[in-house]
């Protein structure tokens, strides 16, 4: 298989309580011709017809959609993990879904998505952990780092709820600490 036809870079963003605000600032700041996929894994209510995709789509000039299972991961798209499923990545750069046990009281779990993405994308992966009140994401960032990827936490001083990024920072699994503006600059440079 022609390896160069698969996207080699990807950004996976994990967020929990308070992360919507950060995303609403981040998405409009991304360049229109961004040529990598952005995948957002957010803890949210499982109610059907959740407006999250619509809310984020309004703020973004890139197409925003909820992940469909076995769908190819396309550059220039922003994907949202569906509620009540874990999000996984296949070696052929398609998405898989899984309804197994909650991890860190969460489904989707950020750890699950980070770990799976790290195994597939290794050093092409940037994992970003935003605001939240949960320890989810720390272990995932650790695996991303071990497999050669870049790990970033939202600056806890700028996060609505600092616990989640702080937890990762205190566990020494974070390469960079950034506010939302710095995150946008970083992603736009990829």
């Amino acid at each position: 298989m022609a390896q160069d036809q698969l996207n080699s870079k990807i950004v996976v963003i994990g967020g929990s309580a308070g992360s919507l605000e950060a995303l609403l600032d981040l998405l409009p700041a991304l360049r229109v011709d961004l040529d990598i996929p952005i995948v957002i894994v957010m803890h949210r209510k499982t109610a059907p017809g959740s407006p999250l995709v619509d809310v984020l789509a309004i703020k973004s000039s890139l197409p925003v959609c909820e992940v469909e299972e076995k769908e190819p991961v396309k550059n220039g798209h922003i994907y949202i993990a569906p509620a009540d499923y874990h999000l996984l990545f296949e070696a052929d750069h398609t998405f898989s879904l899984d309804v197994s046990e909650k991890v860190n009281y969460s489904r989707p779990s950020i750890d699950v998505a980070f770990e799976s993405a790290a195994e597939v994308y290794s050093d092409g992966l940037t994992g970003i952990l935003l605001s939240g009140a949960n320890a989810d994401g720390t272990h995932g960032l650790k695996v991303i780092g071990e497999l050669g990827g870049v790990t970033i936490a939202q600056d806890p001083d700028t996060a609505e709820i600092s616990y989640m990024p702080e937890h990762a920072i205190n566990n020494h699994v974070v390469h960079h600490i950034m506010n939302v503006q710095q995150l946008a600059v970083y992603i736009n440079s990829l």
Binding site: E68, L88, F89, A91, L97, V99
Partner: protein, 272 residues
Amino acid sequence: MEILITDKQLDEVLEDVFDVYGYDFKSYAKASMHRRINRLIAIDKFPSFTEFRYRIRTDKNYFHRFVEEITVNVTEMFRDPAFFTALRTEVLPAIATKPFIRIWHAGCSTGEEVYSTAILLKEANMLHKTLIYATDLNPDVVEKAKSGIFQLDRMKQYSENYIASGGKADFSSYYTAKYDRVIFNEELKKRMIFATHNLVSDGSFNEFQLILCRNVLIYFDKDLQQKVFDLFDKSLDSLGFLALGTKETLRFSPFIGRFRQLDKMKIWRKIS
């Protein structure tokens, strides 16, 4: 650093499992398999992949644990209440005129959705003329499903789901509680037939008016999904219904032309 198995190692384990026990997981979606096996190696504290592989090859009891742990058996009653509302208001009335009804729950796991369907049938006054076939590849979960025994502490959630799906009766009238368990009424169980059936290797065994297979196909690769769609197509009555999970679709299947999707629901009706 924990053990993360490689693609090659995953293939080796699945090949072993097929050779030694005849269970074919080779067409399962790899990402989920990777995760389940990494998780199992960690939980059971194997020092190396080699020891894990050896244990599976040589210890039949451990193989049972392997099947139990790598297949996902997370389910609940009336999961996605909106789906069960559609079943109640659109699907059951359409098949109610049949003198005899067969329903297949393919990949029934521990049976929560089978009992949910039986309750809907009972409330539609159709249960007496229906047989529900409930199958899973794992004999242990089939036995659990057959027992009709569930944890009492889940009933609050299930009762809420039931009400959200349009249920009007007292949910607790469908079971009897004893200590921390409940057992569902014999009247419901009487219309169920439980069996092991492997969607990978076993064929069609009857004709059904409704097949439910929810959150099973997400674990299969695309080729296996097509094979299973073919099996369902063959096993469905001419105007039968196929119900899939919230994130599953028939859309990419070559059979899509023969089916019409119900409004916004993951339910398709065979039209030819």
